[in-house]
Symmetry: C2
Subunit: 405 residues, 2 copies
């Protein structure tokens, strides 16, 4: 069960985008497992991808094709990650692009392929190629179908959508994501696709994606495993009119950046809320750092600690585990006597020791909620950073250990 509010909002149509969803029988019958995004000519597209050295074949191809630019299609299959598949895997990723190129009179390198699902098995490429013509019959109003179409064992489709105005012109920003699902065998793969119909120069599309992904998708953790297939795409069709935003100094840029960040943060948080076995949604906010990096390290150290995560699952205000995780985050010359920690509004650690106002009762009450903020003040500067995570439950082990039984 996903944690908290995970409802799909109204998914506003983005001018210049058509979406087709169909069944390719990649792994299971009766499952819509192939999604194609068609972008109008002139759309500017950017992508960020997993840093994993064993990245999947489609990640290689997408990275390469983005370099030549002028991207017109995204093709996404679930059920098979096309990772660890060697030369044949690369050929199959290219065949996915070729299939669209042949049917649509674009070049193969104007297509970005994405795959998620089983690792180490070859794609059933004929079935995918055969299904492409049907998925090309896209329509504008299919974001909800697309959100479902990219799910693996996500328990819920994930979407975010906003309307906004720049200089009086209405625009839309709509996106979908998928997260920690699993198909035998598998790992948590994150995919996200966000599109706006605002007119944005390619350089700024790249920059906006990088900055927003860094503060959203790059600030979540479920189990610390970085997948082979993680990909996040941002595209701007420019079809809602207005003059192209070309510089960061353009006052519209900051508005746009805020909208994109909100949408991506929501999509990233939805992945955590639907994390494998998650029963709680945890915000780890670290303040008072000498720089952002050390705040990020401390936040991740807490968010990834199995001992902290099992304590969160158990609603156990085991503040020693939080201090311990702060202590091994490699903050240089950390003076523990300046460290404060709160669970929501309850101060548990004061000047490096147990807070004088703390009561076990208040701690248990704070830990019993399904949404908890762990706030740390390092007491050494003005920097701050925030990471989102979930707890570690029996079901995490069950989901990842038991699917063969």
């Amino acid at each position: 069960m996903a944690v908290g509010d995970i409802a799909m909002p109204q998914m506003h149509v983005v001018k210049g985008v058509k979406i087709g969803v169909t069944e390719a029988h990649v792994r299971y019958p009766n499952r819509r497992d192939l999604v194609i995004f068609e972008f109008v000519e002139g759309t500017n597209v950017a992508g960020v991808f997993t840093q994993n050295a064993f990245c999947a074949a489609p990640v290689h191809v997408s990275k390469k094709n983005l370099q030549t630019g002028d991207i017109r299609y995204l093709i996404i299959n679930t059920g098979n990650a096309n990772a660890g598949t060697g030369k044949t895997g690369m050929e199959n990723a290219l065949k996915m692009c070729n299939a669209i190129a042949e049917a649509s009179h674009v070049q193969p390198n104007q297509v970005l392929p994405f795959s998620t699902g089983v690792i180490g098995e070859q794609l059933p490429i004929e079935r995918i190629v055969d299904a492409v013509p049907k998925a090309l019959l896209g329509k504008e109003d299919a974001w909800g179908d697309a959100a479902k179409g990219i799910m693996t064992t996500d328990t819920t489709p994930k979407g975010a959508s906003e309307t906004f105005e720049l200089d009086g012109i209405p625009y839309v920003m709509t996106g979908i994501s998928k997260g920690a699902g699993m198909i035998r065998p598998n790992m948590a793969t994150m995919l996200s696709f966000v599109v706006t119909d605002a007119p944005i120069h390619q350089n700024l599309v790249n920059k906006l994606l990088k900055e927003s992904a860094d503060q959203s998708f790059n600030r979540i953790t479920i189990d610390g495993d970085t997948s082979t297939n993680d990909s996040c795409i941002f595209a701007a069709t420019g079809q809602a009119g207005g003059k192209t935003i070309e510089h960061e100094q353009d006052p519209r840029y900051l508005v746009l950046k805020e909208v994109l960040f909100r949408v991506m943060k929501r999509l990233a948080q939805l992945i955590v809320r639907d994390g494998e076995g998650a029963t709680k949604f945890i915000t780890v906010k670290v303040e008072g750092g000498a720089n952002t990096d050390e705040c990020c390290n401390v936040a991740y150290s807490i968010a990834q600690s199995p001992l902290v995560k099992t304590a969160l699952f158990a609603s156990d205000p085991n503040w020693g585990r939080i201090l311990c995780a702060i202590g091994y985050a490699n903050v240089e010359n950390l003076n523990v006597e300046n460290v404060q920690v709160w669970l929501d509004e309850v101060q548990i650690c004061q000047d490096g020791g147990l807070a004088s106002t703390y009561t076990e009762e208040a701690g248990v009450e704070a830990m019993s909620k399904t949404e908890i903020t762990i706030r740390v003040d390092l007491g050494r500067g003005e920097a701050t950073d925030t990471v989102y995570t979930c707890d570690l439950s029996y079901d995490y082990v069950k989901i990842n250990a038991d699917y063969r039984s």
Copy 2:
């Protein structure tokens, strides 16, 4: 249940060491929770300690006292870690030293204090102080009692002991350790004490400990959490005679080093074998690295991956998860096409993809054993490193989440 062979060997007496074990009622009645080691005058003692910034009060005191040298006593309590206890905690750690000093006519700074157990509560220092005189009535032949006396919720006492000869003189190396236990609330604390009656110069005692601990205790992981209290002590009483070993060039040095490494490796592996919820003992051996650091990083990346660890628990030959963990270990310019992976003798990954000889049947058989070696060849050099770990089971979550229910 601990995994595999965890039997206590014959614990050979070390000349120059007396050990007393008694009940101080630190947390529970009827439990021998206070251990004192008495070293003969002239014993050379070295210690290595947790890197955690929130290290416990006794760790601070032990580090400081080691600087002045001439250590005569170790005092260890279980049931309370004296961590996160601020100024009072420091005072209590010093009181443990004072209690021995008063009863034994040594200086307080000739005593090293150790605590393990609950975090964030003050020691019942009067009960400990009151019990000191009884624990000072030590005897030589009490290593087995000491191994039991430092247990928290370890399921088994942990010991290793060897006899060896240097230049025809017989010596003994005996040690004990405790590992991942838990008392509410708590974290995995590692303690280890190893003593020999061979004559070794203080500088070499320091060096031997550092090198051996680095290849043993610093090469194990259960959940990646670095405790606030981890401590490892090596002492040489010199009471079995012979000329003091003063230089690494002394041919006896290498023999001694091998014995110490074997004893410490055994004590470290015992901690993993008795890891919380462990059902399997895993050796992760990484070969063919450009340097030891990258081998160590890859080994830890595999050994700490929750996805790999749950697959091991499930006996699922999910080789994609192993590749994935190699891929995010930050090895610079890793050419995945040179990577080979074996489960015991079964090659699962060949040149970065599925091995041509691999069968699911062979994979399942290899994964079903309770002792498994994951061997990785990075194909980029001659360096190698090895890390020991266990799997991640329901019981890990149960032990760390459920103790309040």
